[in-house]
């Protein structure tokens, strides 16, 4: 069974980077969003199980999405993939419920490793 996946990043290239790092069988059930507001509306209406989330985005940023997920009490596993690698930011996203923080550009082996660690593979 492949879970329903959402990739949220304002960069098309970054979304493709995440997409091609995913396990082959997951690639059929992927949605994308290019900003936080779009992500939240997809999250609200669908049952997204795994979210790959960028932080620095125009409008509602990744922190805003994490706060929205908490507020809406959504049950989805969030993996933050960001260039903002400051330790304080990594701690902040974990405190807001993210499973893992991965630095950009994302590497397929690291991503797959994290999915395994969290029992998603």
């Amino acid at each position: 069974m492949s879970p329903s996946v959402l990739i949220c990043d304002d960069s098309n290239m970054a979304r493709k980077q995440v997409l091609r790092s995913l396990p082959e069988q997951w690639k059929t059930s992927v949605q994308t969003a290019s900003n936080g507001a779009e992500a939240l509306s997809i999250l609200r209406d669908n049952s997204v199980e795994v979210l790959f989330l960028d932080l620095t985005m125009p409008g509602i940023d990744g922190i805003g999405v994490l706060q929205g997920i908490q507020k809406l009490k959504l049950n989805c596993s969030v993996f933050v993939i960001s260039a903002d690698i400051q330790p304080e930011m990594q701690a902040k996203v974990k405190a807001l419920g993210a499973k893992e923080f991965m630095r950009k550009p994302v590497k397929a082996d690291i991503l797959l490793n994290h999915l395994q660690q969290h029992g998603l593979l």
Partner: protein, 202 residues
């Protein structure tokens, strides 16, 4: 559309490379100052260099500007300008925890600018399999036209420039630094080639 204009894909690709570079530069700055740096989405635009330099020159009496030239392989080069509000530049000494007399305010500004510029550009270069060399950073005198004079001494053609603007906000100290990268036109064409090479992989 001018040959110096970036396509949507090129712009997207460049922006992502910049995001990664500014993320690491701000991490360095945060460690150096032992604080958190708030990042915004950078802006990238082609500008008429004359207009830009004029605008900057007009603001210059309120800003301290440190300028540093950079050049890599494949004709990639430009000038990095680090702009600080005048009132902030006085506060940098406190931030860095230097003793008075240890290092002049000017030297501190140059120090911090060089950390940001070289970290940013080294990370940027690594992503495109390039390597940068740098001129010595220079604090421009806060007088009318010093920026204009400085940029006119460059050997490149500045009619059109790619302007990349990155804002580093140190919220704890309400201290702001603007990094402006100016890429002259021949270097834009060279960057476009590099971006196309990366995009061909996707």
């Amino acid at each position: 559309m001018s040959e110096f204009h970036l396509t949507e894909d090129q712009q997207d690709c460049l922006q992502e490379l910049i995001n990664i570079a500014m993320g690491q530069a701000s991490d360095q700055l945060a460690r150096y100052l032992d604080t958190f740096v708030y990042l915004k989405v950078p802006s990238i635009e082609s500008v008429d260099a004359k207009d830009l330099i004029q605008t900057l020159s007009q603001q210059q009496n309120t800003m301290a500007i440190v300028s540093q030239g950079f050049f890599g392989y494949e004709g990639i080069r430009g000038e990095a300008l680090l702009a600080y509000q005048e009132e902030d530049s006085g506060r940098i000494a406190d931030l860095l925890g230097y003793e008075p007399d240890e290092l002049s305010q000017d030297e501190q500004l140059i120090d911090i600018s060089s950390i940001l510029t070289t970290t940013f550009l080294n990370v940027f270069a690594r992503q495109i399999d390039n390597q940068m060399s740098y001129n010595a950073p220079k604090l421009l005198p806060m007088v009318q036209n010093s920026l204009l004079d400085h940029l006119q001494q460059m050997t490149f053609n500045w009619d059109v420039a790619l302007k990349i603007n990155i804002n580093y906000q140190v919220t704890d100290y309400s201290f702001n630094c603007n990094m402006i990268l100016l890429i002259p036109e021949t270097a834009i064409l060279n960057i476009k080639k590099v971006l196309d090479r990366i995009l061909a992989d996707f």
